[in-house]
Symmetry: C2
DNA sequence: CGCAGCCTTGAAGTAAATCAAGGATTGTGG
DNA sequence: CCACAATCCTTGATTTACTTCAAGGCTGCG
C-alpha cells in the first residue's frame, strides 16, 4: 500500500476504500533518488505529482545572491507537489534533502479523479491546503518569533509531522540535515543556528547532533516556540499519546 | 455580475459561461461591513465562504503578547476564505481593513459544484493555491529580505494585485491602511516602517502618505524588492501595459 | 595521511527594536 | 468655531539581536 501514509492521522478515514484504490492505481511509477537532488525547477511545466514515500524533501526559493529560503519541509506521506496539478507550473524549486523513495501520479489520472470522484477530490484539495496552513505558520514564525523561538518551532513542527506518520516517538528521531539547512528554513545564518542550538542544549530543552534530535523538555520547547499544532489539522488524538 | 473580478486576469477564460453562472447563483447573500471588524476567529467551524467584492481584508495570527502577524491581504475579487470549505475550520482570524462589500457562498453549494462541475472545481482549487503561492513569497520576503526590501516587496505585490482587478493604474492608488498595519504585514515595528518609508521617499522610489501610494520609480522599487510577479499566476499580459 | 564538510567559538559591525517625546491631523462636543 | 482628545506620524537616543568575518577543531573518507 504505497499511499498508506498519505493523510495518515488527518481525516484519512473520510476516504472510502474505492477512493484509496483509485489513488493507489493512479501511481505510474516508484523511484529512488539520492540526497540533495533538485527534481523540479521553478517555472517548469509539470505533468505529474510526487508522493513522498520515505525520506525528507524540501521546497525553496533563491534570493538574488543565490541564498536559499526553504518554504516547506516534507516527510513520508506528503504529496509534495500536488499543487502542481491545478497550478501547472511551480513558483519554487523542489529538492530532496535525504535519500528518498517517490511515487509519481500523472496529472491525467488526477483529471480523471476530479471528473469522477468528488469525495477524493475534496480531500486531495484539503491536503494541499494543509501545506498552505503550514506556510502561514512559517510566516508567523519568521515575522514574530526571535531566533530562539524560530528554531524551537521548527523542531516542534517536524516532530509533530513525523509522529503523525510514526517516524518519531516524540522524544528522539533522526533528522539527517545540517545546521545550515536549519538556517535556510528559519531565516538566519548557520552560525547563529549553532549558537541557538547550544543555548537549547545548555538549558536542557533539546539537542540536535549528528542528525539526531532529542527532545528533553517538550513543554518548555513548545512554550519557547509558541507552538500550537492546530494548524497541522491532525485528527483529534489521544492526549496521552506520548 | 458579482463574480466579475474573481480570477480576473488569472485563467478566468477557462471558466465556461455555465461555470460562471453556477458560481454566481451559489451566492446566498451580499452584505457590507465596516473597517477593522473581525469576521472569523481561528478555530470556528465555518459554513460559508466569502468573496470580497470591494475593499481590503486581511488574515492574521496573534503571538502570545497579542502582537499581530498578517498572513495575507486581500483585494476585490479574492475568495478570501474559500480554503475554509475543505478545511472546515481556519487556523487564523479573518478581518476587514477598510469598509467592504462581501458576497457569501454556503458550503452546501460548493459541495454541489464539486459533485457536478469538475472544471469549475479545478479552478476553485487553483484559486486557493494562488494564496499558498503568495504565502510562500511572504516566507521568502520575511526570511531573506531586509526591512527596506520587505516594505518595497509589499507595495509591489499589492500594486500588481490591484492592477489585475483594475484598482491601480500602476503609478498611484489608494491604500487606506496605516504604518502599523504595514509593520504587521512585514514583520517589523511601526517605528521602523516609518524610517523605511522616509528612505524610499527621499530616494524618489515611492511615497505612502495619507493612505495614498505613489510609485515614482517602479524599476528601482522592484529591484529593491527582488520582485518577480510569476508567483501571482497572472495571465501573460501586455508588457507595455503601463 | 590529508582533505572536505561540518561544527564551534570569538570579535567586531550593523540592522532593527525599544524607549521616549513631540507634532500633525482629524474628529467631537461644548 | 474652538478646545481637546484620539490617532497616527515623526524623530532622536540607546540597546539588543543577529550578521559578518575569521580562525580553528572534529569526523569521516578516499
Amino acid at each position: 500500500m504505497l499511499t498508506k501514509d498519505f493523510l495518515r492521522d488527518r481525516h484519512r478515514s473520510e476516504l472510502t476504500k474505492d477512493d484509496i484504490a483509485a489513488l493507489e492505481s493512479s501511481i505510474s511509477e516508484v523511484k529512488d533518488y539520492g540526497a540533495r537532488e533538485t527534481l523540479i525547477r521553478a517555472g517548469e511545466r509539470v505533468r505529474q505529482s510526487t508522493l513522498l514515500l520515505e525520506g525528507l524533501m524540501c521546497r525553496y526559493m533563491d534570493d538574488r545572491q543565490g541564498e536559499r529560503q526553504l518554504v516547506a519541509v516534507h516527510v513520508a506521506g506528503d504529496f509534495v507537489d500536488l499543487h502542481g496539478f491545478p497550478l501547472r507550473r511551480l513558483d519554487h524549486d523542489v529538492a530532496t534533502l535525504t535519500e528518498v523513495r517517490l511515487a509519481f501520479v500523472p496529472h491525467g489520472k488526477l483529471l480523471e479523479i476530479v471528473a469522477e470522484r468528488p469525495n477524493l477530490t475534496r480531500i486531495l484539495w484539503f491536503s494541499t491546503l494543509i501545506d498552505a496552513a503550514m506556510h502561514r505558520e512559517w510566516i508567523f514564525r519568521l515575522g514574530r518569533l526571535n531566533a530562539y523561538g524560530r528554531i524551537a518551532h521548527f523542531f516542534c513542527e517536524i516532530d509533530a509531522k513525523l509522529q503523525a506518520v510514526n517516524r518519531s516517538d516524540g522524544h528522539h528521531f533522526p533528522l539527517p540535515i545540517n545546521q545550515n539547512d536549519l538556517g535556510e528554513a528559519c531565516g538566519m545564518t548557520g552560525v547563529h543556528v549553532n549558537r541557538i542550538l547550544r543555548q537549547l542544549r545548555e538549558e536542557g530543552v533539546m539537542t540536535f547532533r549528528g542528525g539526531e534530535v532529542a527532545i528533553l523538555d517538550r513543554k518548555r520547547l513548545e512554550r519557547i516556540a509558541e507552538f500550537d499544532p492546530h494548524y497541522l489539522y491532525l485528527d483529534e488524538n489521544d492526549p496521552d499519546r506520548n
